[in-house]
């Protein structure tokens, strides 16, 4: 184990330029990935805020019986998708309209009769704030006899859905592309390291070193490079985040777990690249 580690470290000493180059390229790939990740998590935050406002409103027929309405409110609250259901009476609606529509206050003062219907406003639990669930809840609410109409802004709920899908898809594609690039780069550096050490490897074989033993320093070396690349990438992302916050807009950074995941992902990429490469090239030595 001691020797394995020493051998892995030795490669950095023997080919410092190559090592720095490979760490830098991995760091850069992961940095671009990190920037994209920042965009995604900030978009996600924004989406979350919008989502919170997703609600289904059922307008009630005038003169809906109070007991039936109260019972309906309980029933609706019991739907698995529903977070809260609030009854808004005709008077509440008018008061709200007066408060929100200041310009029309005078007009409203002069009304003889309240034109606004009572309604039930329903908020959905997180995870149910998409088209299908919203539509399903709306459909069920239509079933109550005293409900006149149900509205839920189908259009922008659908747009929100599509935007989220697109963000995830682009994230996955870009992420995979950069991961592949990083794997190829690591593979190339391992290939060079294997060729550079071919004499040593041949001697190791002659004196009876197992393939696993010969392979280990290369795998370790790949993982270390990936790990370093990941750390540099998180550092660069943090610098970018600071700059953006200072000059552009208030945004969120990765959580500690996400940062650790990026670094672990770097190590995984390094390990994967070196595993693929070392097996192929050791055979030729």
């Amino acid at each position: 184990m001691n020797l394995t580690f020493r051998e892995a470290i030795l490669t950095f000493k023997r080919a410092p330029l190559l090592s720095v180059l490979s760490v830098t390229t991995i760091a850069f790939s992961l940095f671009v990935l990190g920037l994209f990740g920042l965009v995604v998590i900030n978009l996600q935050d924004a989406l979350h805020n919008v989502e919170e406002r997703v609600e289904v409103v059922a307008y009630l027929l005038p003169g809906a019986p109070i007991e039936a309405t109260a019972q309906a409110l309980k029933d609706i609250e019991a739907f698995p998708e529903v977070q809260s259901a609030t009854y808004v009476s005709e008077d509440d609606a008018l008061a709200r309209a007066r408060a929100e529509l200041v310009e029309l206050r005078d007009v409203m003062q002069e009304l003889e009769r309240n034109p606004l219907p009572a309604s039930i406003e329903v908020k959905l639990k997180p995870g149910f704030r998409d088209t299908d669930h919203v539509a399903a809840v709306a459909e069920r609410m239509r079933g109550f006899g005293f409900v006149d109409d149900v509205r839920f802004g189908r259009d922008w709920v659908e747009k929100l859905d599509r935007l989220r899908g697109l963000a995830a898809a682009v994230g996955i594609v870009v992420g995979a592309a950069f991961a592949v690039v990083a794997i190829i780069i690591i593979g190339t550096t391992i290939r060079m390291a294997v060729l550079q050490r071919s004499r040593e490897i041949a001697i190791m074989r002659l004196v009876g070193a197992t393939d696993g033993f010969i392979r280990l320093p290369f795998l370790l070396q790949g993982a270390i490079k990936g790990l370093l690349g990941g750390m540099v990438a998180v550092g660069l992302s943090f610098a970018a985040f600071l700059l953006i916050n200072r000059y552009l807009l208030q945004s969120a950074f990765f959580t500690q777990e996400q940062a650790v995941a990026i670094i672990a992902f770097g190590a995984l990429i390094g390990l994967l690249g070196s595993t693929i490469s070392v097996g192929r090239h050791l055979k030729r030595v």
Binding site: L3, M204, R205, A209, D211, F213
Partner: protein, 231 residues
């Protein structure tokens, strides 16, 4: 210990390197493998340390059947062998001591025992004083002694030496040859490939001669037959 039975070896891009070769080297024996360049000596060596597999026939080495050996058994066989080449094959960026220790480290020897074992073999080959020297600071004969020390450090039952004196002057040749004889005297079998016939005549050892891949003379067989034929 080492047994070849009707061994043929053909290389993909070459002709037949070995044709119907059969011989047996016993435990503790010293055997010369002679023949001109290209006769097939190195091929015999490669078959013994399982670098190559026979095309047909059977190769057995200290309990292993090289024909049907699995890849992961090869390292186990090699730990029972010591191998020395004409070109020494030392690592230039390591001292004599480190080159020898390398063979122990890569086989997972306990690190607490390595230094003592390395010094013991370096003393055995007469190079204890140059343990800290790098290969470029050593003469050819000294470099070959380091290689021999590396081959011995795993306490092999057989030492394979492929033209070990091929790059050495006469004095160094005599020294290295004497060292191999001493090693054999202490119980290790030695198979030495050489085309140096003076060396072969100096010692009363077994001689196996190859010619264009065929075994044309084996002193163990032919002398026994000659004696049987004598009145």
């Amino acid at each position: 210990m080492i047994k070849f039975t009707n061994v043929f070896k053909a290389f993909p891009k070459g002709g037949l390197a070995l044709k119907d070769v059969s011989f047996h080297v016993a435990k503790g024996e010293f055997a010369f493998l002679t023949g001109h360049s290209g006769a097939g000596k190195s091929t015999v060596m490669k078959l013994i340390y399982a670098e190559e597999r026979p095309t047909s026939g059977e190769v057995r080495v200290s309990g292993y059947n090289v024909n049907e050996m699995r890849p992961r058994e090869v390292p186990r066989l090699r730990r029972k062998l010591g191998i020395v080449f004409q070109d020494f094959r030392l690592l230039e960026d390591r001292t004599a001591e480190e080159n020898v220790a390398f063979a122990l480290e890569v086989t997972g020897a306990r690190s607490s025992t390595i230094a003592a074992r390395v010094m013991r073999v370096l003393t055995q080959v007469g190079l204890a004083a140059k343990a800290q020297a790098y290969p470029r600071e050593l003469s050819g004969g000294e470099q070959q002694r380091v290689a021999i020390a590396r081959a011995l450090v795993n306490e092999p039952t057989v030492l394979l030496a492929d033209e070990p004196t091929g790059n050495l002057d006469e004095r160094a040749t005599r020294g290295v040859f004497q060292l191999l004889r001493d090693i054999n005297a202490s119980g290790t079998a030695v198979v030495m490939a050489t085309h140096d016939l003076d060396l072969v005549r100096q010692a009363p050892y077994r001689v196996i001669e190859l010619q264009e891949g065929a075994l044309v003379y084996d002193s163990a067989v032919d002398e026994a037959r000659d004696q049987a034929a004598a009145p």
